[in-house]
Structure formats: structure tokens, C-alpha cells
């Protein structure tokens, strides 16, 4: 088991170590330096793609969490006859190979652009007062749409079980106590499935951050997520700036996890003490 962890972490440690390399090789150690960290913040491409990545992840997580939660509630209260086929469709992006999702969405966008252009050309010819953009491209918008699309199913899949576990009578009880059902929705259903929503959001965020393949096919040339930048960099000289940025991100996640875990175990201890 220890070997498995060595296996999992060896490349990461090497990556981290070479982020401090004075030389620009990731195989030959030339001494310690923070050079690449300084360089990193100068690198427009990397900084821009970090920004794009965070933005698309945050936005798609927000949208997918809200949309997915509502969808899950809707699906959960549907009759089985309807729910089963819908859930199957819902599972497609989860189960499908990412490349298939990416390629098919790419085709969708391109087909839409084609239609749009035909329409816009016609429109512009037909009248003269308002000029409509004829060419639209893959870009941040399509990237976001793609991310939202593959994130929603994950949110639904995490929220659904919570909804199913929820005592069916809770909404009745709230109404019984004087809530209209809108109030019941906000005061009871949402707090009740909150853990599911949160972990759904977390999963969505992780998926977004980690995604490469779908972004690759839907972001076009104008924007680039960190993963895409890394990929295109691996096709050239890879600069250790990339090691530096990943070290920073990894450190941030590690810190976050440690904080969460420490807090959780402290709370647990408190709870135990309260029980004793």
C-alpha cells in the first residue's frame, strides 16, 4: 500500500522539486532557485489561462449547481416512467468517453455557427439599419456551455440520493405548520439537501478544473484553460513555470484539505466530548 502511494506521489514530488530548479530542464538539477516563480507571474499565457480556468470553473459550478439542484428536485418528483429514461440521458455525459462528448459538442457548435452565419448574412442583406455579427467562434462562451453541460449531471447524481433519503413527509410537515410550498421549498428542502448540493458543487468544480479533453474541443483558439496551455506546452519546450504554477495550486488544495480535515476532526472531538 505504501508502494501505491509512492507510485501516486513520486511524479508529483518530482514536479514540485523541479519547480525550484535553477536550470530549465526537468531532468537535470542545476541548483535551487525561485526563478520560475518570479517568471511565472510575468507569463501572460499562463496567468491568462489560470484566470480562464478559474473563471470557467467557478461560473460553470455556480450555474450547474443551481440548475442541477432544480433539475434533481424536478426529476425526483417525477414518475418513474419518466424519470428512468431521463436519468439515462443524464448519465450519458458522465459515462461517455470525454472525447466523444467533446467532439460531439464541437460539432454542435460548428453546426450552429453555420446556421447562424446563414441567418445573419440573410438578415444583413435584408435590412440596413442593424448590422448583425456574421461570424461567431468557439471561445469562452462555448467553453462555459460545455462545462455546464458536463457538470450538471454530476450535481444531479449527488443531489438525487439526498432527495431520496429525505423523509417524504418533511414538506408536508412544513406545510402543515403554515408554510406555503414555496416557503417549504426554501426552508426545508434546500437546507435538507444542502450537503448534497455542496458536494455536488465540489465535484463539479473538480471536474471543471481537471478537464482537458472537452475544453480542448470546445474552447477554440482564443481562450485556453490551464490544462490546454499545459498540453500545448508539452508540444514545445516545457518551461518549469508550469511546475511552479502546479506546485502553487497543489499547495493551495493541500492547505484547504488540511484545514477542512482539522476542523472536521476538531468538531468531531467536540461532539464526542458533548456526548460523554
Amino acid at each position: 500500500m505504501a508502494l501505491v502511494f509512492v507510485f501516486l506521489y513520486a511524479p508529483i514530488f518530482i514536479l514540485i522539486i523541479f519547480s525550484f530548479n535553477a536550470g530549465n530542464s526537468s531532468a537535470v538539477w542545476k541548483g535551487f532557485s525561485l526563478h520560475w516563480y518570479a517568471e511565472l507571474f510575468q507569463n501572460r499565457l499562463i496567468m491568462q489561462s489560470v484566470y480562464t480556468t478559474l473563471l470557467v470553473s467557478v461560473l460553470s459550478t455556480l450555474i450547474a449547481t443551481v440548475a442541477g439542484t432544480f433539475a434533481a428536485i424536478g426529476l425526483a418528483s417525477m414518475r418513474r416512467r419518466w424519470r428512468t429514461p431521463l436519468m439515462t440521458v443524464n448519465n450519458i455525459p458522465v459515462m461517455n468517453a470525454e472525447i466523444v462528448t467533446g467532439v460531439s459538442m464541437c460539432l454542435l457548435f460548428v453546426a450552429f455557427f453555420g446556421l447562424w452565419k446563414a441567418f445573419a448574412v440573410w438578415f444583413n442583406q435584408a435590412q440596413d439599419t442593424f448590422w448583425m455579427e456574421e461570424n461567431i467562434y468557439l471561445g469562452f462562451g462555448t467553453l462555459l456551455l460545455a462545462h455546464v453541460t458536463f457538470n450538471i449531471p454530476h450535481v444531479i447524481l449527488t443531489v438525487m440520493p439526498k432527495l431520496c433519503q429525505m423523509d417524504k413527509n418533511l414538506v408536508d410537515a412544513a406545510q402543515d405548520l403554515g408554510c406555503t410550498w414555496m416557503q417549504a421549498f426554501w426552508k426545508v428542502i434546500i437546507p435538507e439537501i444542502k450537503p448534497g448540493i455542496i458536494s455536488g458543487a465540489l465535484i463539479a468544480f473538480t471536474m471543471s478544473i481537471d478537464d482537458f479533453i472537452i475544453s480542448y474541443f470546445t474552447a477554440g483558439s482564443g481562450v485556453s484553460t490551464l490544462a490546454m496551455t499545459i498540453y500545448s506546452m508539452t508540444k514545445k519546450r516545457v518551461s518549469p513555470e508550469i511546475n511552479a504554477i502546479s506546485t502553487l495550486l497543489f499547495g493551495a488544495v493541500l492547505l484547504l484539505l488540511i484545514i477542512i480535515n482539522v476542523r472536521e476532526s476538531r468538531q468531531e472531538r467536540l461532539r464526542e466530548r458533548a456526548r460523554a
Binding site: 455557427f113 448590422w131 467562434y137 471561445g139 477554440g220 482564443g222 508540444k235 516545457v238
Partner: protein, 350 residues
């Protein structure tokens, strides 16, 4: 109408609203990036600089649609193809006064006989790069690229035209042949080498890391990039093989769909200037088509580094006519030959 177009565009591609923008797609490791900053400073036009791995990848992106490049820098044969497919816009050379400075050798070439679409960016040769620490005997022939002796140490170039091209050269055929049998023979040559495990990988710019780091012994790549590698690994050698090779011109053109034609021409003009060419040459080691720049480069080098430029290097960068005579430029191939190239190339992955 043109002006109003370019003004209200921009917004669609996430590059800031109302700003003047130009979207450039070039090759990787193919510019001194400080030139971009300088251009932006001078003109206030924002440059979105992207790269494509090869002519063929660029073509895929353009055909697939959805990309919003203005300026692209394809090679000769690909330019012909794009013109053929009516994807390029005619340039307004009034906006590109620096075109004057381009050496006549690089004007009106076969890919753009009337020179309506292009401004050359660089030129050079294709050759074999080898690591003298790993390969003792001198390499002079393309045979090294197919020799099982070097199994696992050879890097095949990762685009169909160059890869099949060197095989055709080795077999003594023209790189522009349309004879299916000859092409099949060339394919077979590579396929056998693949089967024999000759190739460690197929690379484009990955070649830098591989060759500089001593991870492979032999590769086919471009002269300019070889010179860049040499800076990081002195053991590397370059040769234009005895069977001859390809000499190429990469030129800047503007896409028909471009919404920023003016900015595009501004960029092209800027990149065609002598100063930009000198700096770029110094950075990427590719020969410039700007006559003045090419001529004065050795002096520029000496001035900058305080030592003379090794004439051998200059010769590799801007080979003499004698070498060029051994080389052949790629011409656009007829559609069915291109399909054959594509199919064979895909099959080669097998």
C-alpha cells in the same frame, strides 16, 4: 462598411470590447515574444498570439471552423492549398510598406505567383539533427532516419508532408510526386521502420526537449530550430543530406473571414520590418526574407554579442544557393494525392 465591421467585432471572441485586436496563429517557438509587446505598445493593437503545431493541424482547425484567426503563417504548399480553397484574403500592400524590403527571391513564388496574398516570414531547409555524442559515424544520408541500428533513438517528424517527403527524397523521387506507387513505396519505407521500432516518437516542437536533453540521437527538423537547440546542447549537428531536401518559405497571410484586416496588415507590416526581422532572426535563428536584415545579421550579431557569428552557423541558417539547388520546394498536391497522404499518415499511427 469595412471599418465599422472591425470596430464592432472583437467583442465576439472574448478579447475585450471595442479594443483593436489581431489574432495571430503561427508556429511554436517561432517569434521573439518581446516583438509582440513592442507592437502592442506602438500601435495599441492587442495581439492574441496562438500557435499550431503544423500546417496540417492549422488546416484542420480552419476547416473545422470556430477559430477566429486573422493572420496565419503557413508554408508554401499550404498557402497554395488555402488559396485554392478560397480561404485567404487579398492583401492591401499599401498598408504594408515594408513589403518593399523583402528580397525579390521571395516574391511572386509559385504558391502566390502574383503575390496578392502573402508576405514571407522566414525561410530555411529541412535536415537531419544528430547528437554526436550518441552517433559516432557522420550522418550524411536520409538512410539514418530508417536505420534499425538506431532503433528507439530516432524521432520522426510529425506531419505527413515532411515525413513522406524525406522518404521520397531517400528513394530518389520528387517530393511533389503524384505517382501513387512512389508514395506507397515511401510509406512502406517508413512503415517498416516503424515496425522495426526505429522511432522513439513522432515529434514536432517536442524535438527541442528530446534533442537538447539527449533523449534521442537523430531527428529530422528545421535548420533554424536546430540552431536554437545548439545553444543548449553543443553536441548537436545538422546536415542537409546528400539526397537533397526541402527548402521552404513560411509566409504571413490573412484569412478571408478576418474581422481585423487592418490590424492584420499592421502586424504583417511590423513583422516585415528590418528591425523586427533582425531581432527575430537573432531569437529563432530562422533566415529572414528581408534582404537588408539577412545581409546585416552577422554585423548585428557581432554588435550584440561582441563576438563574430560563426559562418558555419550562418550557412546553416541561410544556406547558399548551391545547397538550395539540391533542395526542392513543396508544391501543393492534387486533392486525391492529399487524401492519400492523409490516409497513409493516419495508418502510420498503427
Amino acid at each position: 462598411k469595412d471599418t465599422s465591421d472591425s470596430e464592432n467585432s472583437g467583442s465576439s471572441n472574448g478579447s475585450g470590447s471595442g479594443d483593436r485586436v489581431v489574432n495571430v496563429c503561427s508556429w511554436g517557438e517561432y517569434i521573439d515574444e518581446s516583438l509582440i509587446d513592442q507592437f502592442e505598445e506602438e500601435t495599441g493593437i492587442k495581439v492574441n498570439y496562438q500557435t499550431a503545431e503544423s500546417n496540417e493541424v492549422l488546416y484542420s482547425q480552419l476547416s473545422m471552423g470556430g477559430v477566429d484567426y486573422d493572420v496565419i503563417v503557413p508554408s508554401d504548399y499550404m498557402i497554395s492549398q488555402l488559396i485554392e480553397e478560397d480561404m485567404l484574403a487579398e492583401l492591401n500592400y499599401d498598408n504594408i510598406p515594408n513589403f518593399e524590403k523583402i528580397d525579390d527571391r521571395f516574391k511572386n513564388l509559385s504558391y502566390d505567383p502574383e503575390n496578392k496574398y502573402t508576405v514571407p516570414y522566414t525561410w530555411g531547409t529541412l535536415g537531419i539533427i544528430s547528437n554526436t555524442a550518441k552517433v559516432q559515424e557522420p550522418i550524411t544520408s536520409w538512410s539514418a532516419m530508417f536505420d534499425p541500428q538506431y532503433a528507439g533513438n530516432v524521432l520522426l517528424i510529425n506531419n505527413s508532408r515532411d515525413a513522406l517527403g524525406i522518404a521520397l527524397l531517400y528513394l530518389g523521387y520528387s517530393v511533389n510526386t503524384t505517382d501513387e506507387a512512389e508514395i506507397q513505396e515511401a510509406y512502406q519505407l517508413i512503415a517498416d521502420a516503424v515496425k522495426n521500432g526505429v522511432y522513439q516518437g513522432k515529434v514536432m516542437d517536442e524535438v527541442f526537449q528530446k534533442m537538447e536533453g539527449g533523449n534521442a540521437a537523430i531527428a529530422t527538423y528545421y535548420a533554424g530550430d536546430y540552431l536554437s537547440m545548439l545553444e543548449n546542447n553543443e553536441d548537436l549537428a545538422y546536415v542537409v543530406p546528400e539526397e537533397g531536401s526541402n527548402w521552404f518559405v513560411d509566409a504571413m497571410c490573412v484569412l478571408k473571414t478576418s474581422q481585423h484586416k487592418e490590424e492584420a496588415e499592421a502586424w504583417i507590416n511590423f513583422m516585415a520590418s528590418t528591425e523586427a526581422n533582425l531581432r527575430n532572426m537573432d531569437y529563432i535563428w530562422y533566415a529572414s526574407p528581408n534582404a537588408e536584415a539577412l545581409e546585416t545579421y552577422p554585423a548585428y550579431y557581432e554588435e550584440t554579442y561582441g563576438e563574430p557569428l560563426d559562418p558555419a552557423l550562418y550557412e546553416i541558417m541561410a544556406p547558399s544557393q548551391e545547397v538550395l539547388d539540391r533542395c526542392e520546394a513543396y508544391l501543393v498536391l492534387p486533392a486525391e494525392t492529399r487524401t492519400l497522404y492523409n490516409d497513409l499518415w493516419t495508418q502510420l499511427g498503427i
